[in-house]
Amino acid sequence: MTAREWALVWGGPWSRAGIALAVLATIAALAISAWTYRRLRRPWPRALLIALRALALGGALLLFLQPALDLRKVRLGRNHVAVLVDDSRSMELSDQPGGPTRRERAREALRRAAPLLDTWRRSRQVDFYTFSDALRPAGDEPLAGAPGCLTPRGGTCGDATRIGEALESVARRYDGRDLGGIVLVSDGVDNGRFGRALDAAGRAQVERLGAPVHAAWVGRPGLRDVAVSAMASGDFAFVRTVFRVEAIVRAADMGGRKAEVVLRREGQVLQTRVIELRAGEPLMVSFDIVPERVGEAYYEVAIPVQPDEAIGENNARGFVLRTLRDKLRVLHVCGRPSWDVLFLRRLLERNPNVDLISFFILRTPTDLQLAPQSELSLIPFPTRELFEQEIKSFDLVLLQDFNFAPYGIAPYLAQMRGFVDAGGGLAMIGGALAFTQGDWGGTPVGDALPVDLLPKTADPSRMFSTGEFRPRTAAGANDHPLLRIGATREESAKLWRTLPPLEGANLVGGARGGATVLAVHPTLRAPDGAPMPVLAVRSVGAGRTLALASGSSWRWAFTAAAGGGDARAYDRFWEGALRWLAQDPELRQVRVDVARPTWAAGEDVPVVARALSRDYRPAPGVAVTLAWRRLGAAETEGVAPVVRETGESGEAVIALRPDRPGAWRVTASATIDGRVHTDEETFLVESPLRELEDPEARAALLREIAQASGGRFVEGSASWAGFAARPPRVAAIESRRQVELWDGPWAFLGIVGVLALEWALRRRLGFA
């Protein structure tokens, strides 16, 4: 294609300094002329004279500069117009019930713009692209693909709308080429760098394009939707500490109706809130919860789908909450002060990870009362508060040399047992008031202990043994966490042989079914003929119990120091006991780990299962069964468990690919040394419908982009007639001619005529 062009050029041989000198001289001459006319009092004649002199001087200056017309015939290149069409999921929405979808409106706008596009094609290259989370070249019918993107696994639509990133891709793509303009067809629902409005950086980015961006907004007001668009909460909480769940709810054109917001924990409704669905600013909905258990759980905030709502899939949002233990909450109950109580209390108080609540019986009902109550610091035993109201708030209950009968605790024994069954830890520590003498036999608590209790008799020698003894660790139990009192296995074994002897033992029966005997009396026998357990543990329900049939472990802390030793063995023993009772995850023999709590849909989720033998060393060759299911789903949804054998490192690694979004729980189980151990981990596969968190069509952003770039903005299928593309650049000059404007008599005559007119006027005014 060719075109004719002209331009004014200056033909004089003068340098810039010469031109400047001429201009200055002209101005000076004009100033002198004006000064000479100062005596003329009437303004109009004076102005006329000065104007004539200026005209004459200007003409002289033009002659000096030698102006000419440069006439060219040029051949133009073809520049590009990029048409960017949004094909994200939100384009599937109908802004009004029964109305066309945004995609259909975009398609209609493109159809109406066909004549303009055809015009552009004569001189330009029109390039079509679709964009969502990325820019993709498209054919001349960019929205010809099948819709159906409003279900998590439907369609091939993009999962985001990133207008800023798409424009940047266009700039890179046309770098060094002639870009004449951009047309942007979108609903304006940007969830990329631009968001809801252009900031300074976004404006600068648009201006740098160097081409007008025309925007065609294919959305309409009136979308009826409510969405839980984001969670403003963290992803971890502390057990038994208030945690605030905050959800951001956006409503569009719901007419102020009321709706119920529900917080669920793994499908179970915890709390509800009623909110008013008003368009405009997002609404923060808060729920205060108190997680009761350490571990992971899936929570979901949901709003029921409203009548006429455009999309229901964005009405719920979930997250995995990891509940941690900030401190181990220990209830330490003692039947009477003793050295054993003193040293255990010292240890518990020193441990920064223990939140200790103690209750010691300082006076029994049979003791003499020689002082009025007001002179004593004694308080009533808050049995109901501790054993009924607050027991669930503890991780461990330590009953040390304690008999319950005199204190009205019998009605609460079932609650104490329930505490263990529900996952709590309970230890009974010996002393003359513990075990059989403490009337624990036949009680719900006594039945949870790892050892049988003997029938109570009047003969103390059948309930206690006095004298010193050194407990023997049970065969095969040396590596149990409770027995690891040294830095190494060997040191632990040596320490158990050399620790100060205990003094006095409670006589107990044999180990109960499921109990693990860790240490036995060197000489005493249980009724079944086996060595009498001194230290035993047992898993009961979801909890754990421990029995130490002696009230003199304090000697490991104090008497051990006599010969230059120290209390480290005592400290390690009890810290190991606390951790084991509290089911410290570090002490699980089978563990399963997922690297992070949230994954994108379609992503492989690597899962590592670890198996430890009874001595807590890596266990190779263990068959670990890994099963996973989506929480809330009745079935495992076709995911069959897999079995992997651990390697030399005791680890088995597999990659899971969950087939749909939601919360998934992977469970690892393995049989080690005849016992089944399990662990589980929960993770979240995010829904690809994040695009629909805030789907209301927004024209403002598109309008701002158009204004910043010098483009135009239109709504819906309105005409694109105002969309103009920059002309293409010149590719070649086919012919060229210069016409000198100064080289002729008319210029000279013109100047002379003006001077003559000025002379005549001066004479008339009496100046000549």
Binding site: S338, G430, A432
Partner: protein, 258 residues
């Protein structure tokens, strides 16, 4: 001689029987949880109040839940293995004692560092006597920085069982107990008011010493001081636990912040 009464006579007989039983039981193995206080013998071995601990143990046994061996152990610092079976040591004296050897001081230091408590009771009836000087010298050797300092009235030792306004003994020379605090715990507690003189009772149930100026009421207070000291040695700051604070403040008619 103290006034006599049939009930006092009966109590004295009972005390004598118990004391005899306790003496017999001194070397027998104890039931689990039984607490035995050890009388620490230093210097020439003099014991100004040999029956004081037995009576304190009797009172402890009758008034509190503590299971106490009524016959105290008698130990010297040289007997380290036995020393480390008795976390509570009671040192009483009415005269200067020869300084323990460096090894014995180290043993006692270790005993205190690992959880032991030393209760010191002066029977000199005057401040700045020879026993007092020996005790202060011993404390100076035991600790590099810590020194004996008055125990504050609000310290937990003053409320570990009884709510004590003061700490009298047979006499009242010092207005307060003194103590060495280490690691948040009173490891040495010193009374110059002859607590043992108020506690001591002979085998026939007679109080061995008059208590001045407060008589029997002061004696009762002296027992309460002894009981609180033992209770503190066994329970430490248990009574400072948050759960007890409102109750104690209420009885003392202090205000509890809502």
């Amino acid at each position: 001689m103290l006034p006599r009464h049939p009930i006092v006579t009966l109590a004295a007989l009972a005390g004598a029987v118990l004391a005899a039983a306790g003496a017999l039981a001194q070397d027998e193995p104890l039931l689990e949880g039984t607490v035995r206080i050890a009388q620490l013998i230093v210097g020439d071995g003099s014991e100004p109040r040999p029956n004081a601990l037995r009576r304190l143990a009797w009172e402890l046994d009758k008034r509190t839940s503590i299971d106490v061996a009524t016959s105290p152990a008698r130990l010297r610092l040289e007997d380290a293995p036995a020393l480390f079976r008795h976390p509570l040591l009671y040192l009483a004296g009415d005269r200067a004692f020869s300084p323990p050897s460096d090894g014995d001081v180290a043993t006692l230091r270790r005993h205190l560092a690992y959880g032991g408590t030393l209760m010191v009771d002066s029977a000199e009836a005057r401040p700045g006597g020879g026993f007092d000087a020996s005790v202060r010298a011993l404390v100076a050797r035991l600790f590099t920085r810590e020194r004996l300092a008055p125990v504050r009235p609000e310290h937990v030792v003053m409320k570990s069982f009884y709510l004590l306004p003061d700490a009298p003994g047979r006499i009242i020379i010092a207005p307060a107990l003194e103590a060495v605090e280490q690691g948040g715990r009173l490891v040495v507690i010193y009374s110059q008011n002859d607590l043992g003189g108020a506690w001591a009772r002979d085998g026939f149930g007679r109080w061995e010493h008059d208590v001045t100026p407060g008589g029997s009421a002061q004696r009762e207070r002296a027992f309460r001081v002894g009981i609180n000291l033992v209770m503190y040695a066994l329970c430490l700051d248990y009574k400072d636990d948050q759960v007890h604070v409102p109750f104690i403040l209420k009885r003392r008619q202090w205000r509890v912040a809502e």
